[in-house]
C-alpha cells in the first residue's frame, strides 16, 4: 500500500498531502529533495524533463522506502509518492502522472499567482477516486493477460459519453452516465475498465459513436422517451434499447420511466453488443479527435456550472480531464503547421530572438547548446560532464520565456553559469582549520577524547601527491600545529627520501613560527596500511595534532593496487581522504575520480579533491568540473604553483569565470 503522497512546491511548502501511516517521516522526502534536486546525485531522466512521466524518473530509494516522483517545472511543483520498497506497485507511475495532470488542471491558475503560498485545494476526493480506480485496475490486471496490461497503460479507463443528445432530455440531472465499456466483463465491478483491445482508445468516442451507429432510431427513441414517460422503452428495437441501458448502467437517480425493466436487462445484452462496439471503434478511428474535442467542451461546461461534485460526477470529470490532457498532448505533437504559418512564426521567432520574450523550445536551444558543449570541451571538461551540464541547462530552459532584449545565447550563458556554480559549490563549509580544531581540542561538553586529525592523500602516479602534502603541511605549520608526516609509499624507490627532504625544508622554513614537524618512516617493502596504523598510534602517544599520510601512486584501473586502499582506509581511518588530480588530465579524470571514490569500501568515500598544476593550464580548468561531476565530492584546494605557499582554496566565482571566458 501507499505510505504517503505529497504535492509540494520548490519553495518547500506542502500544498496537499495524504498519509496512510501514523508517523510519516519528513526526512525521507527531504533526502529526496537534497540528493536528487539540489545535489543532483542521481541524474534525472535524460532528454526533456518537462513533460516527463514518473515512469521515466528513476525511483529514489531511502531507508526501506521507495519514492516515485515527477515535477512540473513552470509551476515549480513536485509530486511524490512514498511506499515500502518491499511492495511492487505497478500502478504507481500512472497514479503520480494522473494526479499531476489533475492537480495542474484544477489549480494551475492559482499556482501562478505571485506572492502567495496559499492554494485552495480540495483535492482529497480526486485523489481517492484515482487511487481506488487504479487499485481496482491492478487487481483485475492480475487475472488478465500481460498484453492487456500493456494496452491499459494508454487507456483512460472510462469516460463520460453518450450524452450527445441527452442534456435537453434531462435538464435537471447533471449526472453524466459513466459509460463503462465493460461489455465483456459485465460482472466485474463497475469501476473496472476492460482491457480489451478496443478499450485501448478512449471510451468516449465509442459511446458517442454508438448512438450514432444506432442510426436515427436511437435519437428518435430518446426523444420519444422524453415525451412519453410510459412503458415504451422495451417495445421498440430490442438491441438499441438494451445497448442504451448497458451504456447508461452507472447512472444514478435518472428518472427513467421503465426503471426496473431496463435495469433487469442491463446485464444480458452486453454479450452481443461487444462485437458491435468493437467494429464501431475500428470504423471511426479517424474521427476520434473531433469527437474528443466535443466532449471536452461539455465537461468543462458542466464543471463550472456546479459547485460541488458528487462521486459519480467526479469520476467522469477526472476522466474527461485526463482525456483532454491526452488529447492536447497528441494535438501538440501532431500539429502540422502550414507553410504560411511556419514562415510567419519563423520571422516572429527571429524578431523575438533579438527583442526577447521568446518562449524557448528544444529546436531553438539545440544549436546554442551544441555550441556551449563545444566550448566546455575546449575548456578540458570531460565529455560526460559537459553533456550532463548541457542537458541540465536544456531541461531548465525549455519552456522558459527570455527576458527583454535577451538573446538565447545570453540566456544559456547565465543558465550555464548558475549550474556550474551549483555543481562546484560545496554542500557544507570546508574550513579545514576548524575541523582540525574540533578534533584536536574538543570542547569540554562534548565527551570526545583528544586525538590527532588524520589526513591521507591518494592519487595516480606523478600528479603531485607528495608536493601537495608538503604544501598542506606548510599551511598547517604556519598555523602552529604539530604535524607528523608519514611515508606510506613503501614501493617506489626514493619516495621516502623525497619526503625526508620536504620535511627538513619545512622544518627550516617554519622553525621561527612555532610549528613542529616530524617524519615517520619504516623504510621500503612494508605493508602501507600497517605503517599508517602504527603512525597514528605513535602520533596519539606523542601528542601530534595532525597526521599527514602520503601513499603510493597507483593506476586507477589496476584492481590489484586499488584493492589495498580499502584495507588502508580501515586501518588508518583517516578523517579526510583527499585525492590529488592534475588539471592537465582530460577525459580520464572522470574515471579516476570514480574509481578512487569507490576504492575505500562501502562506508567510505573521498572527502575532497586537490587539483594540482592549475597554473599550467591557463583557463582550461575543466578537470575541476569533471571530477566533481563524477563523484559529488567538493574540491578542497587547488595547487597554483611550485612553492610551498602556492595552495589555494577554490573560489567558485573564479573557476566559473575561467570556464566561461571565451578568449583562448
Amino acid at each position: 500500500m501507499l505510505d504517503s503522497f505529497e504535492i509540494l512546491t520548490t519553495s518547500g511548502v506542502i500544498l496537499w498531502s495524504r498519509s496512510y501511516t501514523n508517523n510519516s517521516d519528513p526526512s525521507i522526502i527531504n533526502s529526496l529533495i537534497s540528493t536528487v534536486f539540489i545535489e543532483e546525485k542521481t541524474l534525472p531522466g535524460a532528454g526533456v524533463a518537462d513533460d516527463i512521466s514518473a515512469a521515466n524518473n528513476p525511483p529514489f530509494k531511502c531507508d526501506q522506502h521507495t519514492l516515485k516522483w515527477t515535477t512540473v517545472k513552470e509551476l515549480g511543483l513536485i509530486f511524490v509518492a512514498v511506499y515500502r520498497s518491499l511492495l511492487h506497485l505497478s500502478w504507481i507511475d500512472k497514479l503520480v502522472d494522473n494526479i499531476k495532470t489533475l492537480f495542474v488542471d484544477l489549480y494551475g491558475d492559482q499556482l501562478k499567482k505571485p506572492h502567495t503560498t496559499i492554494v485552495e485545494c480540495h483535492f482529497d476526493e480526486y485523489f481517492d477516486q484515482q487511487l481506488r480506480e487504479l487499485e481496482k485496475t491492478a487487481l483485475n490486471q492480475d487475472t488478465k493477460s500481460a498484453e492487456a496490461s500493456a494496452l491499459l497503460e494508454k487507456a483512460p479507463p472510462s469516460l463520460s459519453g453518450n450524452l450527445g443528445d441527452e442534456p435537453p432530455l434531462l435538464p435537471g440531472l447533471l449526472s453524466r452516465g459513466a459509460s463503462k465499456n465493460n461489455w465483456k466483463d459485465a460482472t466485474s465491478n463497475e469501476y473496472t475498465p476492460t482491457a480489451t483491445p478496443d478499450a485501448s482508445r478512449p471510451g468516449t468516442p465509442a459511446g458517442h459513436l454508438l448512438t450514432a451507429k444506432a442510426g436515427p432510431g436511437g435519437s428518435r427513441r430518446s426523444r420519444k422517451l422524453a415525451n412519453t414517460p410510459s412503458t415504451h422503452a422495451s417495445s421498440g428495437d430490442e438491441t438499441s434499447a438494451k445497448k442504451r441501458a448497458a451504456k447508461s448502467k452507472a447512472k444514478k437517480g435518472r428518472k427513467w420511466d421503465a426503471d426496473g425493466l431496463v435495469d433487469d436487462d442491463s446485464d444480458t445484452p452486453l454479450d452481443y453488443s461487444a462485437p458491435n462496439g468493437a467494429t464501431s471503434g475500428e470504423d471511426d478511428g479517424e474521427e476520434r479527435a473531433g469527437a474528443m474535442e466535443e466532449i471536452d467542451q461539455k465537461t468543462w461546461g458542466s464543471k463550472t456550472g456546479k459547485g460541488q461534485f458528487v462521486l459519480k460526477d467526479l469520476d467522469d470529470q477526472v476522466h474527461s480531464m485526463l482525456a483532454s490532457a491526452d488529447a492536447e498532448k497528441s494535438h501538440s505533437t501532431a500539429a502540422p503547421a502550414g507553410i504560411v504559418g511556419s514562415s510567419i512564426s519563423a520571422i516572429g521567432g527571429l524578431f523575438r530572438n533579438v527583442v526577447g520574450g521568446k518562449i524557448l523550445t528544444k529546436k531553438d536551444l539545440d544549436k546554442a547548446i551544441k555550441g556551449m558543449e563545444e566550448h566546455l570541451l575546449k575548456k578540458n571538461v570531460a565529455r560526460e560532464a559537459a553533456i550532463r551540464l548541457c542537458e541540465g541547462v536544456e531541461r531548465e530552459l525549455i519552456g522558459v520565456k527570455t527576458g527583454n532584449f535577451e538573446s538565447v545565447q545570453a540566456r544559456i550563458q547565465t543558465a550555464m553559469e548558475s549550474s556550474l556554480r551549483k555543481i562546484l559549490t560545496p554542500t557544507s563549509s570546508l574550513d579545514l582549520l576548524r575541523e582540525i580544531d574540533a578534533v584536536t581540542s574538543p570542547s569540554t561538553l562534548s565527551l570526545q577524547k583528544r586525538r590527532p586529525y588524520v589526513i591521507s592523500v591518494v592519487g595516480v602516479n606523478g600528479v603531485g601527491k607528495s608536493t601537495n602534502l608538503s604544501k598542506i603541511c606548510f599551511f598547517l605549520l604556519q598555523n602552529k600545529y604539530k604535524v607528523l608526516v608519514v611515508a606510506c609509499d613503501t614501493f617506489r624507490s626514493g619516495a621516502v627520501e623525497q619526503l625526508a627532504v620536504h620535511v627538513s625544508n619545512l622544518k627550516e622554513l617554519t622553525a621561527r613560527e612555532g610549528g613542529k614537524v616530524e617524519l615517520y618512516q619504516k623504510g621500503y617493502g612494508k605493508d602501507a596500511a600497517n605503517v599508517a596504523k602504527n603512525a597514528v598510534t605513535f602520533a596519539v602517544q606523542e601528542g601530534f595534532d595532525v597526521v599527514l599520510i602520503d601513499t603510493a601512486g597507483r593506476r586507477h584501473n589496476d584492481q590489484r593496487l586499488m584493492s589495498s586502499l580499502e584495507k588502508f582506509a580501515t586501518f588508518a581511518s583517516p578523517d579526510k581522504i583527499l585525492m590529488v588530480g592534475e588539471a592537465l588530465v582530460g577525459t580520464d579524470s572522470v574515471a579516476q575520480a570514480r574509481n578512487f571514490n569507490a576504492a575505500f569500501g562501502a562506508g567510505r568515500s573521498l572527502d575532497g579533491f586537490i587539483i594540482s598544476k592549475c597554473d599550467t593550464v591557463g583557463d582550461m580548468v575543466g578537470t575541476l568540473v569533471s571530477m566533481v561531476h563524477a563523484t559529488n565530492v567538493p574540491v578542497l584546494f587547488v595547487g597554483v604553483g611550485q612553492h610551498y605557499s602556492d595552495l589555494r582554496n577554490l573560489s567558485v566565482k573564479w573557476a566559473v569565470e575561467k570556464l566561461l571566458s571565451s578568449n583562448q
Partner: protein, 276 residues
Amino acid sequence: MASQDWIQHLLNPSPLQLTIAILLCITIPIFLHTSVFNKSGLTTLPSILLVGPSGSGKTSLLTQFERGTAASTHTSQAPIAVECSLPVSSTAGSDKYRSIHDPTHSIHKKFLLVDTPGHGKLRHYALDTITSPQNLRGIIFLVDAATLSAGDEGLRQTADYLHDILLLLQKRSESKTGAKALKEIPVLVAANKMDLFTALPAALVKSSLENEITKVRRSRSKGLLDSGIGMDEGDDEKDDWLGEMGSKEFKFKQMEEFDVVVEVEIGNCLCDEIFY
C-alpha cells in the same frame, strides 16, 4: 513640376492626414505610459529577508506569517516572496508619526517576506538579495536552537552562515559612498524551536553564536587565500575581518559600528505567538 505637385499634395491639409496625426498624438503617450509604467511598478513593498541554515524553519515561519498557522514544509529549493501584513495592533516604524486618525494609517502595512533556501549549494539566492536589495528593511536569521549545543555540527554551520551574512552587510556599509547613504539593516537572530527539550535559552544562543563566530573569524583569517586572488591582478587586498579590528572576541555589539543592529529573540513556529 511633378515633384512640386507631389510635395504640395503631401503638405496639403487633408482630413486623412489630420486624423492620422491626431491619432498618433493621442496613442503614443498612452502606449509609452503603459509600456514603461507597467514594468517598474509603482513602489516595491518593503521586504524582509528570511535566512538561516537548512531545516531551521524559514518556510514554516513564512507560512505562519501568511496564514496564521504554520504549514508543514520540506527542504526549499527556490526562494519565494510572500506578501504579508502586520498585525492590526502593531504600528509600522514608518508610520510612527502618523496620527491614528489618518486614513492612510490603515494601509502601508503590507510587506514582502522573502524566503530563501538554506541548503549549502543554494545560499547564493540569499547573498544576492543582500548585495542588490530592493527596499530591504531587515533580515531575520533563523537558527534551530536545539542544534546549537557546543561542539555540534549544527552550531558550526550556523555560525559560518551568520558570519558570511554579517560580513556581507559590513562590506556593504563600508563601501557606501557619502552621497548615497544606505539604510541600516537590522538583523534579528530568531532562535526557533524553543518547544524542544534541548533548545538553548536566548542568552546562551547569543553567547554560543558569538563564540563560534569568533572561531570562524580566526580560522578564516588564517586560512588559505581564495584561488582567484593573486592570480589575476586588480583584486585588491580585501579586508575580511568581521567586527572590530583586532578584537579578541566577537560580539554582536561590534556590528553597530557598521549600522547593523543584531538582536537575538526566541520563539517557535508551532505556537501562535511570534516574538517581535
